[in-house]
């Protein structure tokens, strides 16, 4: 499919999904919401980390910062503006840490992005405790479920559309070049440092905005719940298991794993995570290219 066709397909899916608040029960709507959220997180993670092979664990930091933008400003700002501000905070934070740490690679980069996320979490906990004398914040006037759903849907479509455009653009080409061989890309005239910071910051808009949008779903916000590293881990796992270098892989696996975890996690919490662990190990060992490589293998067999 060309980029134009992909965009049209995205728009068509969006039009269908937009009807959900009128058709689905509250329970199913919240299920759809978490599928959309993880799809957007996984797609935006794969946008930068897929082609470049960087392993960023900063998603929960962007998400948590976005959530705190809402917690701090919802009384004075309209919901839509808070969501936008959350996204921009994500971009600013990513540009800042990107400029500082994108020269590191491999495990170093993974560890430091995780460390920076935790550092932000603990700094916010400390600030709230010392200057505002509070451990968490209560969100009083949340918008209704349909408004949240449409906001998250728009963000998800935006993430997918951005991913499509990036893949088709010179930026996407430069990112793939960096992933294949950074020095060669540099020799061929790519300003790798600028490209990496730009793409990393762009991909951070969505987790930031999603954090701000989803914050109103919790009535009580505290740093440990919105900076939960599990959100970041799950995003990375979904994107990689789906195939981070593909567009559709992260979406499919995000929807699949959100559904599975919603149904099983509450009923059998320990057994579910145990099986998730086993599944993860098995997939990495026997299907390292992600679920998308299955599709491709079948496609090749047909042809």
């Amino acid at each position: 499919m060309s980029a134009r066709e992909q965009l049209a397909a995205t728009l068509a899916c969006g039009a269908v999904l937009a009807a959900a608040p009128w058709l689905l029960s509250d329970f199913l709507l919240s299920l759809a919401l978490s599928c959309l959220m993880y799809a957007a997180l996984a797609v935006s993670w794969a946008m930068f980390c897929g082609p470049t092979h960087y392993l960023s664990l900063a998603t929960s930091a962007f998400f948590g910062l976005g959530a705190y933008v809402t917690a701090w400003s919802l009384e004075s700002l309209p919901y839509g503006v808070a969501v936008l501000a959350g996204g921009l905070i994500g971009v600013a934070f990513a540009a800042l840490i990107g400029a500082a740490v994108l020269h590191l690679r491999g495990a170093y980069f993974a560890v430091i992005t995780f460390g920076l996320g935790e550092l932000t979490l603990h700094l916010i906990t400390y600030t709230e405790k010392t200057y505002f004398h509070t451990a968490g914040r209560i969100i009083s006037d949340a918008p209704d479920n349909a408004a949240i759903y449409w906001t998250v849907l728009v963000l998800t479509l935006g993430a997918v559309a951005t991913a499509i455009l990036v893949r088709a653009s010179r930026l996407g080409l430069a990112l793939r070049g960096i992933g294949a061989d950074e020095e060669r890309a540099q020799t061929l005239g790519v300003d790798t440092r600028r490209v990496k910071i730009l793409a990393f910051a762009l991909s951070a808009f969505f987790p930031g905005a999603l954090g701000a949008a989803m914050a109103v779903r919790w009535t009580y916000i505290e740093p440990l719940s919105v900076f939960n590293p599990f959100i970041g881990f799950q995003t990375v796992l979904m994107a990689m298991l789906g195939g981070a270098h593909t567009l559709i892989g992260p979406i499919v696996s995000a929807v699949f794993f959100s559904l599975v975890s919603e149904f099983l996690r509450l009923r059998f919490p320990y057994v579910f995570l145990l099986l998730l662990g086993l599944l993860l190990i098995a997939l990495i060992l026997y299907l390292p290219g992600g679920l998308a490589s299955l599709l491709r293998r079948r496609g090749r067999a047909d042809a």
């Binding site: 092979h53 590191l104 057994v271 662990g277 086993l278 990495i284």
Partner: protein, 289 residues
């Protein structure tokens, strides 16, 4: 005077444990590029084994340490054979080995933690061992902490000596310096890798056993130690065992003095601050040349 001594000693005591945890992880990473994020889970297993054997059979926990180390060493061989062996053999590049082993580590983390949850539940467990104060030079210490500290330092130094003066140690160091060169002179990765992986888990298990003598244990106790170990090996340099030992002590001291001068709720901010500062200023570790 007594107060500062107590503060410094408490920093060094935690630092000693950090060092044991970090050395195991560092050996695995330095040798095989396995970033084993589930390291803390095996520490937790060691703690539960020690707790179980001590409370059911009444064995002295220190006497249990060799058994715990042996059990985790064997477990390490199994885990290596079933997970990391395949990754090392099929991955096209070092970067891919790192990424895949990190993800498999997450899988192991979920697996081990939840097996322990199913077996023993989420409650805090513990026992009291040597919990009496000892007075040295005007400062008061708990006897169990001193014993744990001595054991941790002895174990780390023993390991350093092994690496320095035995053939296997020499092979490990050669392999860290140059994997290809080491293989050219006849060092067998097929033997060395599982051995070192098992050794890393054995160290984690011993660290867990030592912790169980001092603190209460729970299935989720491991994660913070994984993070601390990552910080320590970043401080000391990836692949440098001596660096991990010193890095552990430095982090313990920074935490102890930092918490005294600021506030205990800043403990994590301090450790992460150190991590970020070191990574930015000296990404190859404090002692790199």
């Amino acid at each position: 005077m007594g107060f500062w001594l107590e503060l410094a000693a408490s920093g060094l005591i935690t630092g000693g444990i950090y060092a044991v945890v970090a050395i195991g992880l560092n050996l695995q990473y330095g040798l095989m590029r396995i970033m084993n994020i589930s390291h803390g889970e095996f520490l937790m297993l060691g703690a539960y084994l020690t707790w179980l054997a001590h409370t059911t059979f009444g064995v002295n926990p220190f006497a249990l340490m060799p058994a715990v180390a042996a059990a985790l060493f064997l477990l390490g061989l199994v885990v290596y054979r079933f997970c990391f062996y395949r990754i090392a053999r099929t991955a096209p590049s070092v970067e891919v080995i790192e990424a895949r082993s990190l993800l498999v580590g997450f899988g192991l983390m979920f697996l081990v933690q939840n097996v322990v949850y199913l077996a023993w539940g989420a409650d805090l467990r513990g026992y009291s061992y040597l919990a009496e104060p000892v007075e040295i030079a005007g400062a008061r210490f708990m006897a169990n902490r001193l014993a744990v500290f001595a054991f941790a330092v002895a174990a780390s130094l023993l390991l350093l000596a092994l690496l320095r003066w035995t053939m296997i140690g020499k092979a490990v160091r050669a392999m860290m310096q140059s994997p290809t060169g080491a293989q050219l002179v006849g060092i067998d990765t097929g033997v060395l890798h599982p051995l070192v992986f098992g050794g890393g888990l054995a160290l984690a298990g011993v660290a867990g056993g030592l912790l169980s003598m001092v603190y209460e244990i729970s299935p989720s106790m491991g994660e913070p130690y994984t993070i601390t170990a990552l910080i320590v090996i970043t401080l000391g340099g990836l692949g440098s065992v001596g660096g991990s030992l010193i890095g552990g002590f430095i982090l313990g001291l920074v935490e102890a003095f930092g918490m005294h001068f600021t506030s205990p709720s800043l403990k994590m901010v301090l450790s992460y601050g150190v991590l970020v500062a070191v990574l930015l200023a000296r990404p190859r570790g404090l002692f790199s040349r």
